[in-house]
């Protein structure tokens, strides 16, 4: 009866449509802030990462300006310490991780044929917690004992070795902001990892067994597992640091029997799997892009999966190769040298598989493919310097030098950032419905390649010549001067390339030609829906029979599933 009354009342009274009208901008803002849609959250992650990329990139530019010539005084030593701390922390926690989570959020449900992530509200929670973590880190500029110059931003380095972080050596609140921001964004990362695991394991469309998932999903599955296993030690270590700083605990207080080395262990047992958390999604991008632009299915799918899982396992046992210079003793040194060498094997398998995918293919050198090829070469070199640094005696010589800085920037910029650019170009048409400008894309690629190699190739040399990292200036006449000029010039070329990227994407968003659903003639499910995809993704849930469902659809005479079973 009651329901009937209500419906009658609604029929007799016109529903007020104009009275509650709000400005379009407020509506859209409200929509973005309250969204639980995986695509919108993915874009929020990416936009947030881009914002911090520009901030942390500017910090890198200031660092390079300071080091461009000896005895420079562009920034003070105190500010220099803050700059490299903020640059490292921001790039790892608030640029690369959100960027990769953003792509994962956007693409995983589309690729596995689901309408959203497993826990949409947890997804939104994770994003906003991560976002507030980043804001907290930068709030230190205001809240860490006042404004500029008054002991503000964290200055303890991105791995914050004890006892630098104790109240004695880091009074004020800057270190608290550092530890709290990482603790909080860690909760967000764990939430997203749980979501990715549950989505991939539980939300796949009919027919998509684990062996028929796109490699992208496999790599994100292992990444999410690593996030669970690696971020939680970091969380524990940050809680211990807070206990030390706020409650007078002695975990890392060497004078009361605590150990500074155990902080290093706890940090790096997070820190090294973290490298693989960052690089496995990069592998995921390459594993989707290289086959499509070589017009061949991925070579050795099952070996790729096995290598991914192997990397996941081995990456949990290599952390102390960051600590060879501490003096762990021959037993531990030998173990960590050998495990470091071992992890090069599955990684090498992956590189050979990508090359074999390209071998004999009809390669189309579009911008995403150019960045992927750049990644292959650069990641190989990064791996080789990694093996060099993984040898304990070599590491004793070059630990904490610019050689190390060059090595890991080769991994993160030359490997991860290059594939992230590739992914951005590759999925830009899907996300916006518009095609980017190919000429500007190529310009971006070549500028960035030149800038990258100017900076990071030549950064190895002052390292070999003995230039330590984290010094705010240096003496002239040690043979470092010219190399530092080249390195700094390269940084500006890279910054110019980023400007080209932004111009390209902004211009194409409004002026680019419409891309259609499937501009690359690709094979995974995200290309079977409109661009941009509707909020429900799939009007009806697809069913798949092979790893390349769109190939089967386009080639009913020669479908993949006829062969995949026998392989």
């Amino acid at each position: 009866m009651e329901g009937e009354d209500r419906s009658m009342a609604m029929n007799s009274m016109p529903w007020p449509t104009t009275a509650v009208e709000r400005p379009v901008f407020v509506d859209r803002l409200h929509d973005w802030i309250t969204t639980v849609d995986h695509k919108q959250i993915g874009l929020l992650y990416i936009a947030y990462a881009l914002m911090f990329l520009i901030i942390a990139g500017s910090e890198a530019i200031i660092i390079r300006l300071q080091l461009i010539r000896p005895h420079n005084s562009f920034v003070s030593p105190q500010v220099f310490n803050r700059l490299f701390t903020m640059h490292g922390t921001t790039m790892i926690f608030f640029v690369v991780m959100p960027m990769l989570f953003g792509f994962g959020n956007y693409l995983i449900p589309l690729m596995v044929g689901a309408r959203d992530m497993a826990f949409p509200r947890l997804n939104a929670f994770s994003f906003w917690v991560t976002a507030f973590g980043g804001l907290l880190l930068y709030f230190s500029l205001l809240g860490g004992n006042g404004l500029y110059g008054a002991g503000n931003a964290p200055d303890v380095g991105w791995f914050a070795y004890a006892p630098l972080t104790s109240q004695t050596f880091s009074s004020g609140h800057s270190t608290d902001f550092w530890t709290l921001s990482i603790l909080i964004s860690g909760f967000g990362s764990i939430g997203t990892a749980i979501n990715i695991l549950a989505t991939i394991l539980c939300m796949r469309c009919p027919g998509m067994s684990l062996a028929k998932m796109p490699l992208f999903a496999w790599l994100y599955l292992v990444t999410a597992g690593l996030v669970i296993l690696a971020i939680s030690p970091l969380t524990a270590a940050q809680i211990m640091l807070l206990v030390d700083r706020y409650l007078g605990g002695h975990f890392f207080d060497t004078q009361a029997g605590g150990s500074a080395v155990i902080w290093m262990h706890f940090f790096w047992i997070f820190g090294h799997p973290e490298v693989y958390i960052l690089v496995l999604p990069a592998f995921a991008f390459a594993s989707e892009i290289i086959p499509v632009f070589s017009r061949k299915p991925i070579f050795g799918y099952s070996v790729m999966v096995a290598a991914t899982v192997a990397i996941g396992f081995i990456s949990m046992s290599v952390w102390a190769h960051h600590m060879f210079t501490v003096g762990m003793g021959p037993g531990a040194n030998t173990f960590f040298v050998l495990s470091t060498m071992a992890i090069a094997v599955p990684t090498g398998i992956k590189i050979f598989n990508w090359l074999a995918t390209m071998w004999g293919g009809q390669i189309e050198f579009r911008t995403p493919m150019l960045f992927s090829i750049g990644f292959l070469f650069q990641f190989l070199i990064a791996g080789l310097t990694g093996i060099m640094l993984g040898c304990a005696p070599f590491n004793w010589q070059l630990g904490n030098s610019y050689f190390v800085v060059a090595h890991f920037h080769y991994v993160i910029v030359g490997g991860i950032l290059f594939t992230t650019f590739a992914a951005t170009y590759y999925w830009y048409p899907k996300i916006t419905g518009r095609m980017y400008n190919e000429t500007l894309g190529r310009l971006h690629f070549w500028l960035f390649v030149i800038g990258f190699h100017l900076t990071f190739d030549f950064m190895h040399i002052p390292g070999l010549l003995g230039m330590p990292r984290r010094i705010y200036t240096y003496e002239p006449g040690r043979g470092w001067d010219h190399w530092n000029v080249i390195v700094s010039v390269g940084a500006f070329v890279q910054a110019a390339a980023i400007v080209v990227l932004l111009i390209n994407f902004l211009w194409s968003y409004w002026r680019g030609r419409c891309s259609g659903w499937d501009p690359w003639d690709a094979w995974t499910l995200e290309w079977s829906v409109p661009s941009p995809p509707p909020s429900y993704n799939f009007s009806s849930i697809p069913a798949v029979r092979s790893r390349r469902p769109l190939w089967d659809l386009k080639h009913p005479d020669n479908p993949d599933w006829e062969y995949e079973g026998s392989r």
């Binding site: 764990i190 669970i228 975990f251 799939f538």
Partner: protein, 197 residues
Amino acid sequence: MSATPIRLGESPGSQFPTRGRVGMLSLIAAESGVFTIFVVAYIFYIGKSPAGPTPQEVLKAPIFYSICLLLSSATMHAAGRAIREGKIPVFSRWLSITIALGTIFLFGTAKEWFRLIYREGLTISTNLFGTTYFSLVGLHAFHVIVGLFCLTLVLLFVAFGQVEQKHEYQIENLSLYWHFVDAVWVVVFTVVYVLGR
């Protein structure tokens, strides 16, 4: 291209695990990582305090309270079986007993902490033992509190008649968490009261 492009062949039924279970197991894996680090720190720092009080002087194994917590796992299991069979009153009885046992355990921890802090003069900042003991046991107690909060929430839902047999999956996930909290106590007990003394 049509809107429903890839309906090829027959679609086999979904045999995937439920997302709640996978989510809870992942959370438990992450929590295990946090506890592992605290346990490792505790073991590493056994006997490293330069000043007392030492564990040998002040710690007494809380055997009764530990038995209460372990029993609560069994009662939670019974509660889960009751809801699977649709017996809501039985479920609510076992759930209440679980909450009571968990609360008794927390009371035991509170009593021990009171004794340590006010009688023995051991706080988190007294020495390295105090730092590791209070943070490890405190981390576990915090998880017990979270578990008790969730169980009490369920009891409230039962009181308002909102719990039915179909909620067995949610209850199963919650009891996974509770079993985890109990299992962690076995490790903490072994490390703190057996190895550490």
